[in-house]
């Protein structure tokens, strides 16, 4: 059974149709990516799935439960967390306080400490800077903090919206290897990326989004070799 299933998702901004009824699913244990150009609707799809942007129509099922109308703040508890585009860490709070916010729905102190230690093991850099104001971190560190913050809630499904945006190539590689690590540790991942080659390389399956429609789907390797994808997204 699919962990996340989205059916006929429709989103409008005023009279403009941003998503024209798209359907996709993510199975447990997969890395699924959604690639597409600027303005294709990738972020809209991410945000409407979790209810930040209202949906006009369609249905969202997570872990067998209908969450179409569930308010955004209740979705974290169900096990789905999103790292928003542009990182959006809390700049005025410290690294540690950001991680606390990530664990906002977690009531158990012991559980919180365990998760915190895991994060500090995974990102020793953040452990060093735990008392630093998050706004003063470098771009790469901020991305790591944004991902860590999301991981604090122990999600079954981690949604990443353009994690490589604005980062130097060496950091992009690092972020992608972290994604692979998280996946290996058992987290299901839905990835939205403009960096199509990197995304397809690590994905089990992928969808291509073009101006509000899903135009192609397949395994990562299939799409990597598809002439359309090569022409439009891989510079081939």
């Amino acid at each position: 059974m699919a962990l996340l299933e989205v059916n006929n998702l429709e989103v409008y901004y005023g009279v403009i149709c941003a998503l024209k009824g798209i359907s996709f699913h993510v199975n447990e244990g997969e890395i699924v990516s959604l690639i597409g150009a600027n303005g294709a609707g990738k972020t809209t799809m991410m945000q409407s799935t979790v209810g930040i942007i209202p949906k006009r129509g369609g249905q969202v099922l997570f872990d067998g439960q209908d969450i179409t109308k569930t308010p955004c703040h209740k979705i974290v508890k169900l096990g789905m967390t999103q790292v928003p585009e542009g990182r959006r860490i809390f700049q005025e709070l410290t690294v540690y306080e950001n991680l606390m916010m990530g664990a906002y729905t977690m009531k158990d102190q012991q559980e919180f400490k365990t998760e915190l230690d895991k994060i500090y093991d995974l990102f020793p850099r953040l452990a060093e800077r735990r008392k630093q104001i998050a706004g003063t971190l470098s771009g790469g560190e901020q991305q790591m903090l944004a991902m860590s913050r999301a991981l604090m809630s122990k999600p079954k499904l981690l949604m990443l919206d353009e994690p490589s945006m604005g980062l130097a190539p060496i950091l992009v590689d690092q972020i992608f290897s972290i994604i692979k690590e998280l996946h290996a540790a058992g987290t299901t991942i839905l990835l939205v990326e403009q960096n199509a080659s990197k995304a397809l390389e690590i994905s089990d399956r992928a969808y291509v989004l073009e101006t509000g429609n899903i135009t192609l789907s397949g395994t990562g390797a299939e799409l990597m070799n598809s002439p359309e994808v090569q022409k439009a997204y891989l510079g081939g």
């Binding site: 945000q47 979790v50 930040i52 308010p71 955004c72 703040h73 209740k74 979705i75 974290v76 508890k77 967390t81 999103q82 928003p84 542009g86 959006r88 860490i89 809390f90 700049q91 005025e92 709070l93 306080e97 606390m100 916010m101 990530g102 906002y104 729905t105 913050r149 999301a150 809630s153």
Partner: protein, 290 residues
Amino acid sequence: MEVILSTLINGLSLGGIYAMIALGYTMVYGIAKMLNFAHGDIIMVGGYVIFVVMATGNPLLAVAVAVIACVILGITIERVAYRPLRGASPLAVLITAIGVSYLLQSLAQIIFGSAPKMVTVYEFGSVQFLGATVQVASLVTMAVTVVVMAVLTLFVKYTRLGRAMIAVSEDRDAAQLMGINVNAIITITFAIGSSLAALAGLFYLMKAPNVSFTMGAMPGIKAFTAAVIGGIGSIPGAMLGGILLGVVESISYKITAIAPYTDAIEFSILIIILLVRPTGFLGKKRREKV
């Protein structure tokens, strides 16, 4: 010397009142991103509640009931008038807030009439301090202000809820993604602001023991000015702006030549600050994301 001391104490206590009101403006602005122009009228409602409950002759009961009534009123206003407009244009919200302000004033006028009512909450009397005559009520106001500011600062900085408030004020969507219930945080913010307005109303009545349906207007607008001078959205800014404005007002009233122009002087400070430092003393420049 005595004059300076008593003027200063007067100014600090008046400033404390402004600061308490300004905190309501600034917190609501920071977290709900709106100017609640009905905030001053909460003071007025608090004043009338104190007036009514003082019929029992128990000042503590009057204050407690006023705080509770204002909290309920603040939450209700947010729920009924502002929440349906979440995401609407700032202008629509602003106009609604002004409408709520007039609604509260008109209701008070209908219920209690236009003539001001005298209310004496409690006579603290005065003491001699370094040769100056000091109203004990002023000292109490200052002490309560200090406690309120300390508690609020610690609350925001060191509690889970306080940090969630900072998170919501910085980035509402990201806060939702963490599982923070933004509506609940906004409700709590209105509750805190309204309870401080009730307290401010109490201390205002100790300075000028008249309740009228317009009594909230002037302290409201002064406190709003204080919040902007200090940097709207900033909690320490509201405290600083409030106290600064209170001291300026108190000094200006003591100097006969400029006393009639006191209000003008205070609002001129606002204009100068807006020209020189538009973000106020402690306000931050927010980077606008595109």
